[in-house]
């Protein structure tokens, strides 16, 4: 039963999120607003209920799988991509690399004086 309670909480928040997006004409997806709704709920509640944690963390563990159906959709756009192949490829690689470097550098510079958490997992990336 806790799993079902957890899943209902997640779907309920998403539902509330969809309603808010529709009513307030927000340009944000319903689930993102649902995430904010759940966060506020957890802050009021003061802890994460067992069932919610089980179902939520279960979903997050397989987050990559959930992107597969949308990813396969790229097959519909092969012609469009072929038409502008090099501009698209170079832009994506260069711009993504720059975004990663700038964001990481700016954030680590801004947080340089903050105390480090001893509980951090300082796991090095695998070679």
């Amino acid at each position: 039963m806790p799993l079902i309670v957890g899943m209902s909480v997640l779907l309920g928040c998403q539902f509330l999120g969809q309603i808010l997006v529709h009513e307030l004409q927000l340009h944000v997806p319903g689930p993102v607003v649902g995430m904010v709704v759940l966060l506020i709920g957890l802050m009021i509640n003061g802890r994460v209920p067992e069932g919610l944690r089980t179902s939520g963390e279960g979903l997050l563990r397989y987050l990559t799988l959930l992107f597969v159906p949308a990813g396969v959709g790229i097959m519909v756009h092969f012609d469009l991509i072929k038409a502008d192949f090099w501009p698209i490829t170079v832009t994506l690689v260069v711009s993504t690399a720059l975004t990663l470097a700038v964001t990481a550098k700016v954030m680590s510079w801004l947080t340089r004086s903050m105390p480090r958490d001893p509980h951090d997992e300082w796991r090095e990336e695998r070679p």
Binding site: L66, V72, L100, M107
Partner: protein, 244 residues
């Protein structure tokens, strides 16, 4: 040997009409890709999702199946993206004190990331001679797909192509992330996770959870949501600066 070809044909027609087949294909391809990725020592260069997608596209091409038919089965997996996005509030709640403490750096680096992402995408694409439509479609590439589609549509890009490019950006981000972090010597998992969320949305978030850790995952989820929200406001005037 005894099975005549027409019967097999009919069996195929029967199977491919039910959502079961493509749901199963998705799971099996994912398992195969994850296994193969582990064999290669978990290399970020061949993201399991990219390999899964490639395997499935190969299967669909071989069996002459269109995307709509595939999606009838796969939609059950796709549906779970909604509750999974909501569930990102849980790690965020777990690390709320840390997020609160880092609030100013978080907001500033998010804006820095968005400005870099949009200006470099538009700039490089224009230099490379991409069409106006392609440039506008590339601009929101680092934002989670539903938001990117909305932005592309408003600007005059192609929404469905924007969704596809967002996914490619996500996998490029996962491949480049570890390399860039080593180059700029950033080791803090909260910074790494946040950066992955800004540059590679949901893919970066999933990568952070699976390859860096829970703190990184929480910050990546936060970054993904924040980038989506802020880009919707920052992007149109930025693109305007390029005269588009």
């Amino acid at each position: 040997m005894s099975m005549p070809v027409p019967a097999l044909d009919q069996l195929w027609v029967y199977l491919s009409a039910s959502p079961l087949l493509h749901l199963l294909v998705t799971f099996v391809a994912f398992m195969g890709a994850s296994y193969f990725n582990r064999l290669l020592g978990g290399t970020p260069l061949l993201h399991p999702v990219v390999l899964t997608v490639a395997l499935i596209i190969g299967f669909l091409t071989l069996t002459d199946t269109d995307y709509a038919t595939y999606f009838e089965g796969a939609q059950f997996i796709h549906f779970l993206l909604g509750p999974a996005t909501v569930a990102l509030a849980i790690p965020l709640y777990d690390y709320r004190e840390r997020v609160w403490r880092m609030l100013v750096p978080i907001l500033l680096s998010c804006v820095a990331g968005i400005v870099t992402s949009v200006t470099s995408a538009v700039g490089v694409a224009m230099l490379m001679g991409a069409s106006r439509e392609t440039v506008l479609t590339l601009a929101p590439k680092s934002v989670t797909s539903p938001i990117a589609m909305g932005i592309a549509e408003k600007l005059g890009g192609i929404p469905s192509l924007a969704a596809g490019l967002v996914l490619i950006t996500g996998s490029i981000g996962c491949a480049l992330g570890p390399v860039i972090f080593r180059l700029v010597r950033v080791r803090d998992p909260s910074v790494q996770g946040f950066t992955m969320g800004v540059a590679a949305h949901g893919f970066g978030t999933a990568y952070s959870f699976s390859s860096i850790g829970a703190v990184a995952g929480a910050f990546a989820g936060l970054a993904m949501g924040l980038t989506g929200l802020l880009t919707a406001f920052i992007l149109p005037p930025l693109v305007h600066l390029f005269g588009l």
